[in-house]
């Protein structure tokens, strides 16, 4: 890994590690930090498909929900939590392959529409599968003894893992194939990239990371509910995060997740839910018009301007 990635990563994740030791942030902000890290993981996961391949999914909550429920159920049945997380990620990857195989040959808006269908169908199915999900009344998650501080630290470790996975994907032959597919799917196959296989792999990787986030979410929330973890709002949030930070970039989902959580908390505390959705809409339009590469794009512009001086 080149220093231009390692150095800022060590600084950023190092600070996130140290801050709670140095400052007494309190349980509320520690919880908020954990939630932000969960969305870092999920955002990086979404970005593997949406950013690197350019297939915009409006249904990634299905992986978050799958991760949350499988992890919660497995942990509840006595499986060690780490193994439960892996089970959640693996199940989500398999689910991704199942619906990705037929849908990934669609492109652009057609794929996006298909993902809305998959997302909503899954949510409704899960809502009705009461024996497994608890239906509309949700599921209590049994995690044993946990601490806000420990959960934060472990979430940070998982976020670093997701970050490294994203870098490895991006810089491998696999990643080159994905960016070729993003450029032009026909031309990609003319030079030897197998678009079907690569896209399904990307979706499986993406699904596993998002499910990891979902599993950790179940642990820290202690309570999950299909309308929340499989919900369309969550799918939209998973798009907003990389979009705010910078679609297809490595740092985009990391920055976007923190911005999202801060905005979300501020809005929820002060405004109605409907109004906050409106504000997100305005935010998205502004980003797309002003700086399609989000915060990362804005940062690059500033850096170029400074260099020119």
């Amino acid at each position: 890994m080149p220093t231009e990635i390692v150095l800022p990563a060590v600084v950023a994740f190092g600070l996130l590690w140290l801050v709670p030791f140095v400052v007494d942030v309190g349980e509320y902000y520690l919880g908020l930090g954990t939630l932000a890290l969960i969305f870092v993981i999920a955002g990086l996961g979404w970005n593997v498909l949406g950013g690197l391949v350019g297939q915009i999914s409006f249904g990634h909550a299905v992986f978050f929900g799958t991760g949350a429920y499988i992890t919660a159920r497995a942990a509840g049945a006595g499986v060690p939590f780490a193994a439960a997380l892996v089970m959640g990620a693996a199940t989500a990857a398999v689910y991704g392959v199942l619906w990705g195989y037929p849908t990934l040959r669609l492109r652009g808006p057609y794929f996006a529409i298909a993902t809305i269908g998959v997302g909503e169908a899954t949510r409704i199915a899960m809502l009705n599968l009461e024996s497994f999900t608890g239906g509309a009344s949700g599921l209590q998650v049994h995690t044993g003894q946990t601490s806000a501080f420990g959960d934060y630290q472990l979430a940070l470790l998982l976020a670093i893992l997701a970050f490294v996975a994203h870098v490895v994907v991006q810089r491998s032959k696999f990643g080159v194939g994905l960016s070729a597919i993003r450029g032009d799917v026909d031309a990609a196959s003319d030079v030897g990239v197998d678009p079907a296989r690569y896209q399904v792999f990307a979706l499986a990787t993406s699904a596993a990371l998002v499910a990891l986030a979902g599993g950790w979410y179940a642990r820290v929330q202690k309570f999950i509910e299909p309308n929340d973890v499989f919900g369309f709002e969550l799918s939209v949030a998973l798009i907003l995060i990389p979009l705010i930070g910078g679609l297809g970039t490595l740092w985009g989902p990391v920055l976007g997740a923190f911005v999202y959580i801060v905005v979300q908390e501020t809005l929820q505390a002060n405004l109605s839910a409907a109004l906050s959705l409106g504000i997100y809409g305005a935010l998205v339009v502004t980003i797309i018009l002003v700086e399609p590469l989000g915060l990362v794009g804005a940062g690059r512009r500033v850096r170029r301007a400074v260099r020119r001086r």
């Binding site: 080159v176 194939g177 993003r182 003319d190 030897g192």
Partner: protein, 250 residues
């Protein structure tokens, strides 16, 4: 054994027969032209050879090995690749990175991909724009980039779909020269072309398609004299002009 052999290649789209029972033989080292009116099935034929379209019937043999129906990304590994009529560069990658994709996924094992990509770009007259993205290149440069990327896969057979079309006379002369050089270096070339001057001067043999079916096949001179070809495609005056300008006999 011929390098590439088409036997009864057919493609139907519903009731329409886009390519109808076409057979042809391409020898190693040839420049083989494919001409015909719009809708004659030229690009469909190329798509089937390159693997982006499955033939309804027929065989496509490379050195006797049937590749018909194999997907494009597999056909590339046997040494057949194509360029597109409407260029399809990876807009999100620089020119050098475009070529590197071909080097990474194609037919060749290259240690210094970056170096080889730049060398291929230089070979195609694009050395100066290696770090530019395709959006900043002219059409002529993007057509050359398409060729450089295809060369990166290490093709034995290169299918060029109207590379000269849309270029000004000076640019087309340069591109025709490049194609001739690549051919001399050992790449067998199949090319679709509407620019008659380009193809008549370049091709060793020409196949004429009309309504999906093979209308004529032979040297440029023989084809341009063929009454059926004149009737269906060239028109009398153009045929006369070509005759006077002189195609090249094999």
């Amino acid at each position: 054994m011929p390098l590439l052999e088409l036997e009864g290649v057919t493609r139907r789209f519903g009731g329409l027969v886009a390519v109808d029972d076409v057979s042809a033989v391409v020898e190693e080292g040839e420049i083989f032209g494919v001409i015909g009116p719009n809708g004659a099935g030229k690009t469909t034929l190329f798509s089937m050879i390159a693997g982006s379209l499955r033939p309804t019937a027929g065989k496509i043999r490379l050195e006797g090995h049937d590749l018909a129906g194999r997907p494009a990304h597999r056909v590339v590994r046997h040494g057949i690749t194509r360029t597109h009529q409407v260029v399809k560069p990876f807009l999100n990658l620089t020119a050098a990175e475009n070529v590197e994709v071909g080097l990474l996924f194609g037919n060749r094992r290259v240690d210094d991909r970056r170096g080889e990509a730049v060398a291929l770009l230089e070979r195609c007259g694009l050395g100066a724009v290696a770090d530019r993205v395709p959006g900043e290149l002219t059409l002529s440069q993007r057509k050359r980039l398409e060729i450089a990327r295809a060369l990166g896969t290490g093709p034995r057979v290169l299918l060029l779909d109207e590379v000269v079309a849309g270029l000004n006379p000076q640019e087309s002369v340069g591109l025709v020269e490049l194609i001739r050089e690549l051919n001399r270096e050992g790449v067998t070339i199949l090319m679709i072309e509407h620019v008659m001057k380009a193809i008549m001067g370049l091709a060793d043999r020409i196949l004429v398609l009309d309504g999906g079916a093979l209308l004529a096949q032979g040297t440029p001179r023989a084809v341009s004299r063929d009454p059926a070809v004149v009737e269906a495609y060239l028109g009398r005056r153009a045929a006369k002009a070509l005759e006077d300008g002189g195609g090249r006999d094999a």
